[in-house]
Subunit: 350 residues, 4 copies
């Protein structure tokens, strides 16, 4: 087995402790440093994890040759500066979602890492949950047939953020999942968004976004901070299988419907009305799902990508593609719901 | 009590028999004639209902002075011609939804009836169901507070229609409900729509439509013929109450959440993040709902409007407003999801 | 294909019309006569079904040689007299559940038919529904492993019967299902029952019955007329599979859990506590179920048994076994919940 | 406000740490000592809670005059000895459920404390949860009307215990809840139990127990370690209200049905069948429930009872009554499901 990857974590606030716990416990990483502007918070965060050094100065950690890679769990606005400092120091990098606040910042990170041949991974945690890995498998193995639609609802009576709207708060989950499971022929082409701010907080609290896909299918996401009932349901329709993911179901999160739909090309004329489309309805299977914590898989994938000298499953490009869709949402909202080209957003990066 | 209103029903196909049964049984109507191009079908449709005459010629029924009003249950394409013939003969009219296939036809019907001072009612059946009447009461009484959003999902593995898309098939339900419950200050302003035809049937099979409302709130409808799971859920958020209507729930279709949300205007500065919005979460009440058949209430409202010489609850204007939103959907789809003004669609009618 | 079996139906009240409709439509029966003490009700019941004769005198129908078999859909108290008259006339017989009101009556019917080599079938309709046939297949194929328990809940705000208690009203469903699916090694051995009549109507309105099975497993049924919430759920646990049947679920009535449980015989001593039993938790499969009406299968099975000169799937013996459990419930209630031997109840019949 | 009650906790295993946390945080207690036979475990258990002394010798803690009361969180078999030692030292006592393993032990504890005028409280935690407090309020206020039945299902694929059966493992929850909510006129009179051990582990894994109540109502509990599906539902029927408590529901644990049922005494004769009982079906209310941790209320009630010199809400008598029902279950199982008098079990204690 490979030598564990030496890790520094930057940011010991909301999400940092989860990274610290998992880097401490994972089979192929070794946590060496935790940095936080609040030195006391850094110290407390490692109390339970033995021999880890702390600092309020990232530079100090980067001087330690044991640090091969850095995980950044600070607010998005600081991602670009910190990431470039890390890359400049020749270290691999794991960044909390979203990759950055703007496409320009995101591109700068990805390009700097590419120039130094370093791994950039984005912590799209949901992609490492058992339901999403199962959905990806069903879609990409061809078991689903052709993708017809992807519909996701993520609504709740939620904490209304002060500095970001409901799209930036919730949609990165759905968009990173979408990016993760889509087959190449169904890549996002255009994005349009509609929203409301009915309380006058200054930005969208209820949002709908549509993504037109290259194969003629459609993806749609409903995010909402004002719903009295909590729903986290994603439905993925295919020509040979359909999947319903109800993340709040206590015992049956994933239902794979052996349901197919086909256009009856050969039948026309008189009888066409009845025979336009034929359905096949079969069993529903709710697979037993592994219970490994998603974040454990994130940190192990990060280390494996570094040791294997290969891109991570959710690499900087994936982060850019998600960022491009979020940027397209912003532009669409500014332009009255107009469709925005994802390719134009991505520019010449990919 | 008033003398019952003499009725002729035109069209004994899919929906006609339901009208026939209810006009026969209602307290304030008397069914006299059933007309159908298929004379045999007309005869069979009245077998159980005693003394009703049948014909394949609407003109014959209109010669009978006992006929004071006519209900049209034929395909939408024939509504305008039939309705104008009925109005020309001085009879009141009840028309299946949608009122007509185009705004021009719809306007012609409404204006002709207005000129003759006749009742035009559209059979928006859902508006007469117990859940929708309850929702309207909650919204219009002010109990809901200010409307924040209206979100409706109507999806299923459905019969794919040959001649109309999924919006024309399913959205009239949601749009007529929306029109029925909205308070005046939240009238529809703009509509945008996105859709997909991933099987290549020739029109939309998966559709999303957004309606921006005058008070800054938003309405959204998801209609879908390709969903493996059937959902018919509408959520209406207000500042003082929120309502969840799950039409498939066996015992608790309506849940009124005593949940409120308010912007904390007075709090600014340092602490603004935490206190931007405050929630109040109270009891949920699932009211016992009456079980009267909705269509019975439709036909009784029609007769009451005629005898009372007043507009019906879902009158021709309501039919035009729904038609305007459907027409706006069509135009938005043709223009890449662009927003379309509902007022422009309605023109100078209202 | 065999010549259709000529049928007379006795009783055109609550259940009779369903038999009439199915005997008229089935592939292998021909309905010839309907008898009811109310001659007018008999006539109305066949109005839609063409060439069927009616009478208020069963004797008249039995004179017609076209009548090969008779279905009895009258109150249970009249079953014995009518059945013996039919058997005496040499006709096969289908009897509504329960077979009779007492074991003595039931035995008389079964023995008379045996002496004349006639088919006696009991209309345990639930046994012919898709969920129950599926459960029987899972149990009897061995897929379930050893049966551990059978638990059924059938509760509702129900119509409180005047002449029978909640066990006689509802438990025949559960007991006939239990009888239908049990493997031979798990035959019912003892029955005990507890009940309450908290409103003072004169008999049990809330009832619990336990059936101890020969293999050490247990079956239990909860029937209740006073429950504010409707539940119809049966859980069957086995060592290799477990089945949950929720008859009110709109889309997933049967869930087959690939869940197993095994005693760890070999592990003893210190570690025994943790390893007493081991579980295996696998996928859940909700099979697509056929939608054929159960009663259609009942009448076809009746005709097939007659033509095949073989016992019906739910024959007189099955009827007696269910009756024995109901009689045991009665005796247990009279004796303060004491256990009553099912074998003693059955006597020397089987 | 009163001076906080000085506390020693005995047992730092499974449940102890929860007591330690709550005694540390409660408004009216002060945690002074933690005792555990494993001194190291005792030390670790207080690491986060500041100035608390630890010992492996309860006697050492009892020498400290700051200790006014002791909480015992050790296995049930040790309760009696420890409790008598504590009482002998003149300290009040809180004991984990069940109070003891036998009625004799339980009585000894209660009588010793009574002789010294000390508080004995049993930690029936469930009685302090918001749903149970709400149910008690509905029952005891008279809002429910007369109690008709209490039905509880607590089933799961559970850890099969080595030393106790499924009744002792799970039913104390249901029986302590039953004892807590019952009005005086509905006190338990007789208990009967049936069970199975289909895997041959040596004791019951599936159990059903019936409690006949003094007012003619019935209580029933289903406990099961072998169910593939987890259910924790209690239904309480009354003549004026009915309550459904689904403890696994994510958002609506309690539903109070405004449903009533009444015997129509005055109607007899011909029409009696239809009018035996009349129902009233009204709204369902799901009250918003407070989220205070139940165990916090337990420890505060303990301290309040001590300072108030009054019995605790779940006092030693309540512990004895629950123990009597468990003992009755054991005796009923030994006697083939025979009914056992609860009063005889309680003897002359109450």
């Amino acid at each position: 087995m490979d030598r564990p990857v030496g890790i520094a974590v930057v940011g010991a606030g909301y999400w940092g402790p989860n990274l610290i716990r998992n880097f401490s416990a994972a089979r192929n990483t070794r946590l060496s440093w935790v940095c936080d502007v609040d030195a006391e918070r850094a110290r407390q965060s490692v109390a339970a994890w033995g021999d880890v050094q702390t600092t309020s100065d990232l530079g100090e950690a980067l001087e330690d040759p044991a640090v091969e890679a850095v995980a950044i769990a600070t607010p998005a606005a600081s991602h670009a500066d910190l990431a470039l400092q890390v890359i400049d120091a020749g270290r691999h990098i794991l960044i909390e979602k979203p990759l950055a606040r703007t496409m320009e910042e995101g591109r700068a990170i990805v390009e700097a890492a590419r120039a130094r041949d370093l791994v950039v991974m984005v912590d799209h945690t949901f992609c490492y949950t058992a339901p999403v890995r199962m959905i990806r498998e069903v879609v990409q193995s061809g078991e689903l047939g052709e993708l017809l639609f992807f519909d996701s609802v993520r609504i709740n009576l939620g904490l209304i953020q002060h500095d970001i709207d409901v799209f930036w708060d919730l949609a990165p989950h759905d968009l990173s999942i979408l990016d993760f499971i889509l087959p190449p022929q169904a890549r996002p082409v255009q994005v349009a968004a509609h929203a409301a701010d009915p309380l006058g907080v200054g930005h969208a609290c209820v949002g709908y976004l549509t993504v037109h896909l290259a194969n003629g299918a459609i993806a749609h996401v409903h995010v909402n901070w004002l719903s009295p009932t909590k729903i986290r349901t994603t439905i993925i329709g295919g020509t040979r299988r359909m999947v319903v993911w109800d993340d709040l179901h206590p015992s049956q999160k994933i239902s794979v419907h052996d349901t197919g739909v086909a256009l009856n090309d050969e039948l026309v004329g008189e009888s066409r009305r009845e025979t336009l489309v034929s359905y096949r309805i079969g069993d529903i299977v709710a697979p037993a799902l592994p219970t490994t914590e998603a974040l454990r898989l994130v940190v192990e994938e990060f280390a494996d990508a570094i040791r294997g000298n290969r891109p991570a499953l959710t690499d900087g490009e994936a982060g850019l593609r998600v960022l491009a869709m979020l940027a397209a949402v912003e532009q669409s909202l500014r332009n009255g719901g107009a469709m925005v080209s994802v390719e134009d957003m991505l520019g010449n990066v990919t």
